[in-house]
């Protein structure tokens, strides 16, 4: 692990006569915000590149007017936020934004949370001096969740910026709208910036970038979150509620392991039904970006639960009888601790196939590296890394936070990236020019890690065997290539005018055979790359790169050679200057892996918690006894950033909780959250009460939610790694256990704004050859699935969804994530 902690260099700047400290290389706007100074700005988004659409962030720096969103601070810079000229510009800009903007604020879904309204008032616009004929712009639906009203749009381009720079879909862009031309007289009479901003605004509107009316994106809805006006709204939320009626419940997105900050916004269902329901999810979009499951999978609460003593007694009986408890990652730390207590006091086995492989991987990693957890997180990657490597994760589906970080590094840090994955994906190459894709054969993940060692390791630190092993892949051969050479030839030519002979030099092109030595790296060929070109490509990628990060995904945990992989990762950390982050597969997998002592197999009478079993506890309302869903309970979750995050109950719940069962079985405290302070300290948890956990971001965007797990780091010797077997690869029809984006579990499936189906996802060609339905035959069973074409997939591998626990897809795949299957048309 690289222990290089870069301390940001601070410079001092003066804003309106007062001296402040700012990070070197920071934009003026961000530096001001970090010091709690207000600079008006509409189009700028933290963590994205400056758009320069609104121009109201004008300030004066060292006597010159600059845009504070794209000018970096310098030592001793003197900044004035308001000068008479700038105030005039800003007012003119706001007047322009108000030209033809509908005045039906009363029915707008922004209902007062509107930045256009705020800045119009802030800059004191009380009269209008500009006019232009309006253009008719029709309301459209871009996808199953996105609703766009161009009449309200001020084309600040925040949506397109966040989609490109953060989300990576680049699904929307500015398009022409055919507005009237500005009156020429305005050019003279108007402030300069306001005129050019208006000129651009008058011509543009936002539209899907693929030219059709549909975005065909991952439907994350981040564009809705960043929209400063009511132009972009979730289709489900249009005219449903005013913002001020909704009560905000701070919580954590429960489905993926991102643990993103969210607010559940609740209000009574209707006039006749006064129980509260969740209307929408909002987030602190300056500091955190949500994926589709976090934003749209919210109504998965268990509404049917009641307290029934007879059922409760049966549940107690079942627990007393149980040999195994089967559960998954969708569980809070507190509940995981309760189950662990049951294991300790009653000897019940804990079976969790989703998390077990990850837990083993973590243990191998700790044994090899001496670190109990990985060294970085996705936020840190976005802030400083300029080279990312992703191995073993289908970025688009597994971990939204990693996808965003991978993309953000390319866009904002002028970064480069290596992506190793067997399934071809057409989206990843669009993240940046310097992204190299390796669609290797299934089973060669170790080769990818050896390649990383080869490319990045400090060769002096590497054990000699490893060095030799890596060198053994390299070969040099001589090749004869044809090279074009320019020769200078001197000729005597008769000058016709003078009749004298003159010496003329001419350049002649010639092709010559030339012998060169080509060194070729067998690892690259093995991984499906082109070794002859890679050296040049890599040299270009490495230009001016300083901070390197590697993201590891679920494929590695479910790999046959997971132990060797964990050792290789430890070796990479020890010998390369690379920070590592691992995605916990789904939800609270990290918390479960740390708290519970999981078993490899299930046996005997099984109690299933949101899983199949002889007696089932279910938050879906389908089991033998009801449990609260994640939006109905308090507790903490552990995320990819190694944080323990508090979440609150948004919706009422009337049934029993796991803690009630615990109280009947063993000694248990009064409330579920009393367990928070009892989480195991030796695993890195802290003895902190639930109620004292903070849940905020600072103005600079520093995440201050919950607490970070303590990591034990001890020095160990370099691990001994095994060679890999080039031939142990899967051939033939391969199924990959992978969910469509936005689907993670039964709860996302239950939510009414998630439409992705349970099925067999395949590239377009493969889907055509399979027809509408296909039977996937595994070694130990088969499943019939609808075939769904995923336009962004390439190659022959098919993805089988696993989000419905009842379908038992984990059992079909066994300990692997890839497996050979027979595909039959049905």
């Amino acid at each position: 692990m690289s222990e290089v902690k870069t301390v940001d260099n601070m410079v001092s700047i003066t804003i309106d006569g007062i001296e402040y400290k700012a990070k070197e290389g920071e934009y003026i706007l961000n530096a001001a915000r970090a010091n709690d100074i207000f600079v008006p700005a509409i189009c700028y988004l933290t963590r994205c590149s400056p758009t320069l659409a609104c121009r109201i962030c004008l300030v004066e720096a060292d006597g010159k007017q600059v845009y504070s969103c794209n000018t970096k601070v310098k030592e001793g810079m003197e900044i004035t936020i308001d000068t008479p000229n700038i105030l005039e510009e800003r007012r003119a800009i706001m007047e322009v934004y108000d030209v033809n903007h509908p005045l039906q604020c009363g029915v707008c879904d922004k209902s007062g949370e509107c930045e256009l309204q705020n800045y119009t008032l802030e800059l004191g616009v009380d009269s209008q001096s500009y006019m232009i004929p309006d253009t008719k712009r029709e309301t459209t639906n871009w996808s199953s969740v996105l609703h766009y009203d161009p009449g309200l749009c001020i084309v600040c381009e925040r949506c397109t910026t966040v989609c490109k720079d953060m989300i990576g879909d680049a699904a929307i862009t500015t398009a022409k709208r055919g507005g009237a031309d500005l009156d020429k007289a305005y050019k003279e009479s108007m402030p300069k910036d306001a005129y050019s901003m208006w000129n651009k605004l008058q011509k543009s509107v936002i539209a899907p970038s693929n030219g059709t009316g549909e975005t065909n994106c991952s439907d994350c809805g981040e564009c809705i979150a960043v929209c400063p006006v009511g132009a972009l709204v979730s289709r489900d939320f249009v005219y449903q509620s005013n913002a001020w009626d909704l009560k905000r419940i701070p919580a954590v997105a429960a489905h993926s392991s991102d643990g993103a900050q969210i607010y559940y916004e609740v209000k009574p269902t209707s006039i006749t039904d006064r129980t509260e329901r969740i209307y929408r999810i909002t987030n602190e979009w300056s500091y955190v970006s949500l994926d589709g499951s976090a934003r749209f999978a919210y109504d998965f609460q268990n509404t049917t639960a009641v307290k029934d003593q007879a059922t409760f007694d049966r549940a107690i009986e079942a627990f007393k009888k149980a040999e195994t408890i089967r559960f998954n990652a969708m569980i809070t730390n507190e509940e995981a601790l309760m189950l662990q207590t049951l294991k300790e006091k009653m000897g019940i086995k804990l079976y969790n196939p989703e998390v077990r492989a990850f837990q083993k991987f973590l243990n191998h990693y700790e044994a090899a590296s001496g670190n109990s957890l990985w060294s970085t997180d996705t936020d840190a990657i976005m802030k400083k890394t300029d080279f990312v490597i992703s191995i073993g994760s289908s970025l688009r589906n597994d971990s939204p936070a990693m996808k965003y970080a991978f993309n953000n590094v390319q866009k904002l840090n002028k970064g480069a990236g290596l992506y190793f994955h067997p399934v071809g994906d057409t989206l990843i190459p669009t993240f940046g020019k310097n992204v190299e894709i390796f669609n290797h054969k299934v089973g060669l993940e170790e080769a990818a890690l050896y390649l990383v060692l080869d490319l990045f390791a400090n060769k002096d630190k590497l054990p000699s065997e490893v060095k030799e092993y890596i060198e053994s892949f390299k070969s040099t051969r001589t090749e004869i290539i044809k090279e074009k050479v320019e020769k200078t030839v001197k000729e005597m030519v008769l000058n016709e005018e003078t009749g004298e002979e003159e010496e003329v030099t001419k350049k002649v092109k010639e092709t010559v055979d030339k012998e060169i030595t080509v060194s070729s790296n067998g690892l690259i060929d093995l991984l499906g790359g082109d070794a002859s070109k890679f050296d040049d490509v890599f040299a270009k990628m490495m230009k001016k790169k300083e901070h390197f990060s590697m993201m590891l995904g679920e494929d590695l945990y479910f790999h046959d050679k997971a132990e060797n992989i964990a050792k290789l990762v430890a070796l990479i950390e020890a010998t390369c200057n690379i920070d590592v982050v691992m995605t916990p597969p789904k939800s609270n997998a990290l918390g479960v892996a740390l708290i519970c002592d999981l078993d490899d197999t299930a046996s005997g009478y099984t109690v299933g918690y949101n899983e199949n079993g002889d007696f089932t506890l279910s938050a879906l309302g389908t089991g033998d006894i009801d449990m609260p869903a994640m939006n109905q309970q308090e507790g903490t979750l552990t995320n990819i950033g190694k944080r323990v995050l508090p979440t609150n109950a948004a919706v009422e719940y009337e049934g029993y909780e796991l803690n009630d069962i615990m109280k009947a079985l063993v000694d248990a405290p009064e409330l579920t959250i009393d367990w928070t302070a009892m989480l195991p300290v030796d695993k890195g948890f802290k003895k902190v009460d639930f109620d004292s956990l903070p849940n905020t971001f600072t103005n600079e965007g520093v995440d201050n939610r919950g607490y970070i797990l303590n990591t034990n780091n001890c020095d160990t010797e370099l691990p001994e790694v095994d060679k890999f077997d080039e031939n142990s690869v899967l051939e033939g029809d391969i199924a990959y256990r992978c969910n469509p984006a936005r689907q993670f579990n039964d709860f996302t499936d239950k939510s009414h704004e998630i439409f992705e189906a349970f099925g067999l996802y395949a590239s377009k060609e493969k889907a055509e050859s399979l027809g509408e339905k296909a039977e996937v035959v595994f070694e130990n069973g088969s499943i019939i699935l609808d075939v769904i074409a995923d336009e962004k997939m390439t190659g022959d591998i098919v993805k089988v969804s696993d989000f419905r626990a009842a379908q038992g897809v984990y059992d079909l795949f066994g300990d692997a994530r890839y497996t050979n299957v027979t595909l039959r048309k049905v």
Binding site: V107, S129, I132, Q240, S241, I271, D691
Partner: protein, 207 residues
Amino acid sequence: MSLEQFKNRNVGTQNYTTLDVGTPPETGTDKFLQVIRRAVKGELFVGLWVVMRTMLQALFKNDMHTVKYPFEKLPISPRYRAIHDMLILLESGNYRCIGCGLCEKICISNCISMDTRYDENQRKEVSEYTINFGRCIFCGYCAEVCPELAIVHGPRYENASEQRAGFSLFEDMLTPIDKLNLQQEYDGFGAISPNADENIKQTPLAY
């Protein structure tokens, strides 16, 4: 965002303060004395004289001070705040209410509630609207805040009913379409001032 409200899990045990009403009488004598103290006072006879004088004037001098309610009613001020009316547009017969929710927000006794939806014409439609008259204090804020002069107070002040709470729905308050010609503009708080036109600065329009 403050997390205080999420930390209180004992709903219903907030601090209540009891008013000091003294100690109630205990013995029979005390109780009797309290009744006497409260009932027999000099003012009693002053009151009786006033009533007697008015009665004599009404009987012999034909100087009547009351009307024969409910057969007879006094005219009331246009600013009188009684049961709400929901006005509609005279030209088209459409609702004036746009569903902005301001009345719901401003209501200090929290008795207005509304449901809205996205209708087929891509407009915001009020699908359900209700006022709980058991809780309404007829303060007039809703009428004052209404940007469309849709919700107003009407002259109907007879609220007697068999239940304490009476709910009124949107249809109950709307002007019936066949009585559109009888719809009265409201002159109370929130109505536009007679010189409103003079105070408006026009927005320049290019067409």
